[in-house]
């Protein structure tokens, strides 16, 4: 078990938004979390990365208890996140943003290689590499956010709605890339509104509702589940 | 007890003056109490911080008035004093200002207002006399835009113009800065024979030093706000040598017993000498006030004021003899000219 979350509770102020979430991710897996707006998916990801404080429960990453570590130490363990809302560094250039993605990497000389790989994935970023990230179009910023996450060469990659605002062609490309990255050994935990695509990519999935995990199954099973279809796949497709 | 108020800038830009004032008045009150107090009662000094700001001063005055002080000593700065004048007057409390030289303060005919400090016009007159004596034809005047310094500068300008001396430069620096080379450069190009600086010693010290550093040897005459030993420290003895300034005589220079006793006691209690003459003038305010109370045997403001106006003559103060005229101004020649010698000592000029 690579990542093991047990009974996770998180509060914003006095309001508890996660009421005991339990989920596991195995080495080499792609796991997706489905759920309506406000279910607590992003909160779950943020608490893994240490950006929100955990009120109760444990998050084990192999032998480390993440809830006791500080955010930057968590990243050093090999956990990268592409956060919701992109959160790129808008007054840094595209290239500087990517470099920041590799901040914790020790293998200095290989960073350039990874960057070239990201540029190949998103050629427009290469064109814009000296532009300030804040002036990129919405979709370009999304590419940058993903690229920045990939720069980390993490052991596990957490993605929060990576396809948001991307053109259809690119959405396909992204999912394909995630598949490739996974093939190369990176474990992936994916939150995605585009549930159908996510389930097609993932091995397993969890369904989350108002701060609780309500369903857990293999991806195929979830795709076939009528309740899931009704709630997250827009019923029978038009 | 008999309560006497002290209004002084204990905080704010003039805090050092105010703190000296407090030390001096408390020292004198202590001595007085040791010798049996006043009218058989102890004297209690109540100090109020005016922060060097008119509005706070008004409050401080209000505070002293409500504590039923017989009289109040203070304060430093003419506009600060002015903001408190009406409050004392309306409550019939005697006020004796120590560092407030603006002419208009006593022009209002307030019955209970006195000052131990001299007036700007007096100083202007003495200053111009000195400049005349030095024989300067082209004079530069520099002030710092404070009420006091500007008043003095204007006074001097008017008198000099009457005497057909050329004012080749007239402007104001901003106090509190460190670098006055721009001003000196400009002043130098006006080629004055001598410079009359009417501002305060911190700036004057810098001016002297920077003037020296740029090898400009013009003589400087300073106003009475320069009578402070720190001037020499700032300027350095070499740069300060030859600097003239006006001042009421400092206690050190007075042959009187009062002055030397006071200096001794002060040094004993606080380990230094008073920072400036203005603080010492608050001591004189305290002394004349208590003297008047003693003489009249009363704390009634009307009686005390009347005594100060009319009966107190040539009282031996720490800064020379003291009498008041009917406006409350101190009468008599107060100002002298000092010169800094090669050791950095202030030498009273004949």
């Amino acid at each position: 078990m690579l990542l093991n979350i047990e009974n996770l509770r998180v509060k914003y102020g006095n309001i508890e938004v996660l009421h005991g979430v339990t989920l596991q991710v195995k080495q080499g897996e792609i796991v997706t979390i489905l759920g309506a707006n406000g279910a607590g998916k992003s909160t779950t990801l943020l608490s893994i990365s240490g950006l929100v404080r955990v009120a109760a429960g444990t998050i084990f990453f192999q032998n480390s208890e993440l809830q006791k570590l500080r955010a930057h130490d968590i990243v050093k363990l090999g956990i990268a996140q592409v956060p919701e809302g992109r959160r790129i560094f808008d007054t840094l250039t595209v290239q500087e943003n990517l470099n920041m993605g590799a901040f914790v990497r020790k293998d200095g000389h290989q960073i350039n290689e990874t960057r070239e790989w990201v540029y190949k994935l998103f050629p427009i970023l290469k064109e814009r590499r000296q532009q300030l990230a804040g002036t990129l179009s919405g979709g370009e910023q999304q590419m940058l956010a993903i690229g920045r996450g990939l720069m980390n060469k993490p052991r596990i990659l957490l993605l929060d709605e990576p396809s948001l605002g991307l053109a259809p062609l690119l959405v396909k490309a992204i999912f394909q890339t995630l598949d490739e990255v996974n093939q190369a050994g990176v474990t992936i935990l994916l939150v995605e509104q585009n549930a159908r695509a996510a389930l097609k990519l993932a091995h397993r999935g969890y369904v989350m509702e108002v701060g609780r995990i309500v369903l857990e199954d293999t991806a195929e099973a979830l795709l076939a589940n009528p309740e899931v279809q009704e709630a997250y796949l827009g019923g029978t497709r038009a | 007890t008999i309560k006497i108020g002290l209004m002084a800038p204990l905080t704010g830009p003039w805090a050092s003056e105010g703190q000296d004032m407090k030390q001096i008045v408390e020292l004198l009150a202590g001595e007085l109490n040791e010798h049996g107090g006043l009218l058989g009662k102890k004297v209690e000094v109540i100090s109020a911080d005016d922060g060097g700001d008119p509005k706070t001063a008004a409050l401080a005055a209000q505070k002293l008035v409500t504590q039923d002080v017989v009289g109040a000593i203070g304060t430093y700065g003419s506009s600060i004093t002015e903001a408190s004048q009406n409050i004392y007057d309306e409550s019939k409390v005697i006020q004796i200002a120590n560092g407030s030289t603006a002419v208009r303060l006593t022009a209002k005919g307030l019955k209970y207002f006195f000052r131990t400090s001299p007036r700007d016009d007096e100083q202007g007159r003495v200053g111009v006399q000195a400049l005349e004596k030095f024989g300067y034809k082209n004079v530069a005047i520099l002030h710092d835009n404070t009420t006091y310094a500007k008043g003095l500068a204007e006074e001097a300008r008017a008198l000099l113009e009457k005497k057909n001396v050329n004012i080749v430069f007239y402007d104001a620096l901003t106090p509190g800065e460190r670098d006055y080379t721009a001003i000196l450069t400009k002043m130098k190009s006006a080629r004055p024979d001598g410079v009359f600086f009417t501002g305060y010693y911190p700036e004057c010290g810098l001016l002297l030093r920077q003037k020296k550093e740029m090898n400009w040897n013009v003589p400087f005459l300073g106003g009475d706000a320069n009578n402070n030993p720190d001037l020499i420290k700032i300027a350095g003895t070499d740069a300060a040598e030859g600097f003239y300034f006006l001042s009421p005589p400092v206690p050190q220079d007075l042959p009187s017993r009062e002055a030397s006793d006071f200096l001794k006691a002060y040094k004993k209690k606080y380990g230094t000498t008073p920072g400036s003459i203005w603080a010492v003038l608050s001591g004189d305010g305290f002394r004349v006030l208590t003297a008047a109370i003693k003489a009249t045997g009363s704390t009634d403001s009307d009686k005390v004021a009347d005594y100060l106006h009319n009966k107190l003559k040539n009282y031996p103060g720490l800064t020379g003899t003291i009498s008041f005229d009917d406006k409350g101004d101190r009468v008599g020649e107060v100002y002298r000219v000092y010169r800094v010698n090669a050791k950095g000592e202030f030498i009273l000029q004949p």
Binding site: G165, A167, P168 | -
Partner: protein, 254 residues
């Protein structure tokens, strides 16, 4: 008759040709889609229309009137309203007040009337609140009126942005990726809403990457790529245009 007419619009940012000689018309009462790859210049077109930036060249004619040199708030008063690609609500104000922001340009009372609280001002205020509530009802947020905007879920924030825009009583509503971040269920609801808005005789121009939405609601579609228009027509035409497939849609290999 066309509600909005764009002629030879061009905008450069430094070396980037964000919009390159684009012309199209939005017929009154229609729903029009603006699609294209990321960075094609779609949002920039919206910014040009709403006066947030100025075109280097070209004309924008709204209801027979050129609006190129007008300030944003004037353009809004003329009857164009928009939403933003990244949500820009007044996060610390209530949902109702967010909608009242949209009412602003339809009200008159200034500071003096407010201080004196004249009958006119009070009447106007009441009417504005009534109208705002009505708008909230329309998008289905009536129950959240007292919430702070930041406490709404993402999808509801998107709806609130639309409500705020609608409150200005626009004749042309432009939406920048309204379905972004919504799941398919919510997208379906959004489609219903968009149609409802159109049925109230508001013309709609929208940007969207969710093809299920675009193909279902848009009567006409304009496709941009690298700032230039590469295709235009009905959903059917555009979907089968090889240029569009190549640049944007990709082939459905499933």
């Amino acid at each position: 008759m066309s509600m909005l007419c764009i002629k030879n619009l061009t905008k450069r940012f430094g070396g980037v040709m964000a919009v390159n000689d684009v012309s199209f018309e939005v017929p009154a009462g229609s729903i029009m889609g603006l699609i294209g790859p990321n960075g094609a210049g779609k949002t920039t077109v919206f910014n040009l229309i709403t006066g947030i930036c100025r075109p280097d060249q070209g004309e924008i004619i709204f209801d027979e009137k050129s609006i190129v040199n007008l300030l944003t708030h004037n353009i809004i008063s003329l009857g164009i309203a928009r939403t933003f690609q990244t949500i820009r609500l007044f996060q610390n104000l209530s949902v109702l007040e967010n909608v009242l922001a949209g009412r602003h340009s339809r009200m008159k009372s200034g500071s003096l009337r407010a201080m004196l609280r004249t009958p006119f001002q009070r009447g106007e205020e009441e009417a504005a609140i009534a109208k705002a509530v009505q708008t909230l009802n329309f998008v289905g947020l009536r129950r959240d009126a007292a919430q702070l905007a930041k406490n709404l879920s993402y999808g509801n924030q998107r709806l609130l942005e639309i409500a705020r825009a609608l409150a200005t009583e626009p004749r042309l509503l432009i939406l920048d990726e309204p379905a972004g971040g919504m799941n398919e269920q919510e997208t379906t609801n959004l489609i219903t809403l968009i149609r409802k808005i159109r049925d109230q005789r508001t013309t709609i121009l929208l940007i969207e990457h969710d093809m299920s939405l675009v193909m279902r609601v848009c009567e006409n579609i304009v496709v941009l790529d690298y700032g230039a228009k590469i295709s235009e027509g009905t959903a059917e035409t555009v979907k089968n245009d090889p240029l569009v497939i190549e640049a944007y849609l990709g082939t459905d290999e499933e």
